[in-house]
């Protein structure tokens, strides 16, 4: 009974792992095929490796430029987001005040509202501030929209840190702010890294905000470039280039994720458990 059960579970484990890996390998394999091959033999091996797919994706969609833009916006957003988010989370976690629940709730509520309806008011606002179609405008918007998740997870993180450390620091004559930067923030580093990586992945993949805010070709981000490719392919059926584009956008994300996977798991789960 017990062995049978174990076998059953092991088979399930393997099946799910296969269901994840096989399709991704399939995308990789498909990115080397011709359009006709993709449709006539979608699961067959490519006849010859179509490296041109990648060349077309890289050149026609101008992916090199978009890659840089995405990198700049993502890093800049993180550089503002992480300190700003950590500061707020720290207060929520450690300094109870009247209205704290209310404010915290307001931060979380933002996660439940369908994003694309705020796009028109947001566009008008950015137009008034002169931030439209600028990388720094997009960066600020990204920071704002990433705050709910960041504050949520980091608050949970600061709550787990031992109170004694803070008290010791305060007794040593540190101010509250100094205690935060010198003692608490370094202690929360694992949490910061995870939040950073998660936001990096999310911002790297972000599409609707960038679509409406950016209009100049030379300032587009990578998802805009890929979506562009996807749409164009729908009119031209160059599916090989499309899949090559998908690989280009997926690889960095998977790579970053793979590097930080253990840490992400621990904290992702830790944050969720406290919910």
């Amino acid at each position: 009974m017990s062995t049978l059960y174990r076998w059953l579970i092991n088979i399930c484990l393997a099946l799910f792992a296969l269901s994840v890996v096989v399709p991704l390998l399939w995308v990789l394999m498909t990115s080397f095929k011709t359009g006709a091959e993709i449709f006539t033999a979608p699961w067959g091996l490519p006849h010859t490796l179509q490296w041109q797919n990648f060349v077309r994706a890289w050149q026609e969609a101008g992916i090199a430029r978009y890659f840089m833009n995405s990198l700049i916006v993502t890093l800049a957003a993180l550089a503002i987001l992480l300190p700003v988010g950590a500061m707020a989370a720290y207060i929520f976690a450690r300094y109870p005040f009247r209205g704290a629940n209310w404010l915290f709730g307001a931060f979380l509520g933002g996660m439940m509202f369908p994003l694309f309806l705020t796009i028109v008011p947001l566009f008008l606002l950015l137009a008034r501030l002169g931030l439209l179609d600028t990388l720094h405008g997009l960066t600020l918007v990204y920071v704002a929209y990433s705050l709910p998740f960041t504050v949520f997870v980091l608050t949970g993180f600061f709550q787990t840190l031992p109170q004694e450390m803070l008290e010791a620091a305060l007794i040593d004559g540190c101010g509250h702010a100094r205690a935060f930067w010198k003692v608490m923030l370094p202690l929360a580093k694992p949490g910061i890294i995870v939040v950073g990586v998660f936001n990096a992945i999310g911002l790297w993949n972000e599409y609707p905000l960038a679509l409406v805010i950016m209009s100049s070709d030379e300032r587009r981000t990578l998802p805009l470039g890929i979506a562009n490719l996807l749409m164009v392919e729908q009119y031209q059926s160059d599916w090989g280039a499309l899949f090559a584009g998908l690989v280009i956008v997926m690889l960095p994300v998977l790579l970053v994720y793979w590097l930080f996977r253990d840490r992400i798991h621990e904290t992702m789960v830790a944050g969720a458990l406290k919910g």
Partner: protein, 444 residues
């Protein structure tokens, strides 16, 4: 404490810098600048960019910025609301064109249409357009949009397959049924279609057969929301014809779950013999088309004793317009006049392989796959267009949903026409929906 202050200060400074820097950019320029925003579909936007460079060369002091992408309408919407639209735009199929007209966001063009064409001192620009296409752009007697290229709707067949088996493209309903039986016997699906997007079935099956059964008036009345028109005998007959093809198993199995490229790929790979599609089919599939693939175009087979004109052909346009709040109206018009000159029109036909709305442009060298459609268009005595879909998007959606249900065998032809009439009735009763009338679809 200090740290906090610095952090706050930093953010404040950053915000200020951002605002100041971006404001500084809006300095006036000496040259006249024109912004043209285009939908980037199967034909790309390179042709318009090229035209802009040529126009700049001929008109020193003018700078034209042409930009576009496949979902340009999403970017244009907030710009229309904010009141800073481009000077000239081709917003693409995702834009609700008529809403722009109702809101006064685009200008009526008749005054300009009555002025001379590009580079001429006499004649009317209006007369250079194919009149039946210009009529599609009118509302309450005024012209708000301008056609550029246009597409024709019909059926395509696999030429090699037909020749090898000695089949001929069917002209009538009885010929169609007989042919389908033969094709099916060969183990090939007679007809496939783009099931996930039922609009193809509406303009490929439903409307042509409504017109065949009840004449063009049957369709005009429906578009004009005449009570009862959507459940007229002509609509019922057309629905019964679709239902009969389904019951006889002449549609490819699984077509109801295929997207456009999927179904078109079935056709190209020889697993289906015929498919309804517009004249864009070739350019859409050119990257995956087998090198020696030959396809032919024909009108949907008509009823043997049909009332309608058997030469009637469905067309579609993707219009351009001039926003009311654009900054360079005259220049925008003049540039569009340049783009629609006979010379540019012929170039477009030759480079892009599609039909143009400019008269005389059919004298250009058409690519092989367009020769049959051009012939069909020249012979056509009646032209129709699925206008209710743009006029009344909600009715259009319900017609498409009902068509999908009919083709899947979920509803009977009788239930089908009842659904259509109910949707038309709802539109008719809704006072918030501006109504259109059309007397088009008549003789050319």
């Amino acid at each position: 404490m200090k740290r906090t202050k610095y952090a706050l200060l930093g953010i404040a400074v950053a915000l200020t810098v951002v605002v100041v820097v971006s404001c500084g950019k809006q300095s006036p320029t000496a040259t006249k600048e024109l912004e043209v925003a285009c939908f980037k579909g199967g034909y790309g936007i390179d042709f318009f960019e090229q035209a802009a460079r040529e126009y700049e060369k001929a008109h020193p002091g003018v700078k034209i910025k042409v930009w576009g992408n496949p979902r340009v309408w999403e970017q244009l919407r907030p710009r229309f609301i904010a009141g800073n639209p481009p000077d000239l735009t081709y917003p693409g199929w995702g834009m609700d064109h008529w809403a722009l007209v109702y809101e006064g966001q685009v200008i009526p063009l008749d005054e300009y249409l009555d002025s001379p064409p590009y580079g001429k001192t006499e004649g009317r620009w209006r007369d250079t357009f194919e009149p039946s296409l210009l009529e599609l752009c009118q509302y309450q007697g005024k012209t708000y949009m301008l056609p550029y290229f246009f597409s024709m709707l019909g059926w395509w067949y696999n030429k090699d397959m037909f020749e090898k088996n000695g089949w001929k493209p069917p002209r009538t309903w009885s010929e169609l049924l007989a042919l389908c039986e033969k094709i099916k016997a060969k183990g090939i699906a007679p007809i496939t279609y783009q099931g996930i997007y039922p609009a193809y079935a509406v303009s490929g099956f439903l409307i042509p057969w409504v017109i065949s059964a009840g004449g063009i008036e049957a369709f005009d009345n429906a578009q004009n929301l005449v009570p009862g028109a959507w459940k007229s005998p002509a609509f019922l007959k057309a629905a019964q014809m679709m239902d009969e093809l389904r019951r006889r198993g002449y549609f490819q199995e699984g077509a109801n779950g295929m997207d456009h490229t999927g179904a078109q790929m079935e056709f190209l790979s020889g697993r289906a013999a015929m498919i309804p599609c517009g004249t864009w089919l070739h350019s859409e599939m050119r990257n995956v088309m087998p090198k020696d693939f030959r396809m032919g175009f024909f009108l949907p087979p008509v009823l043997d004793e049909g009332k309608g004109d058997p030469t009637a052909v469905g067309i579609g346009i993707e219009p351009w317009m001039v926003p009311t709040k654009g900054k360079n109206r005259e220049l925008a018009i003049d540039f569009y006049k340049y783009m629609t000159s006979l010379e540019k029109a012929k170039q477009f036909v030759e480079q892009k392989g599609t039909l143009m709305s400019i008269r005389g442009s059919d004298q250009a060298n058409f690519p092989e796959h367009l020769k049959e459609p051009v012939e069909v268009f020249r012979r056509a005595k009646t032209v129709w267009s699925v206008e209710y879909r743009q006029w009344y998007p909600r009715l259009g959606k319900e017609v498409e949903d009902a068509t999908a249900a009919l083709l899947a065998g979920n509803i009977t032809p009788e239930q089908f026409v009842e659904r259509l009439e109910r949707a038309a009735e709802a539109t008719r009763q809704d006072k918030n929906i501006p109504k259109h009338t059309d007397t088009r679809g008549q003789a050319r």
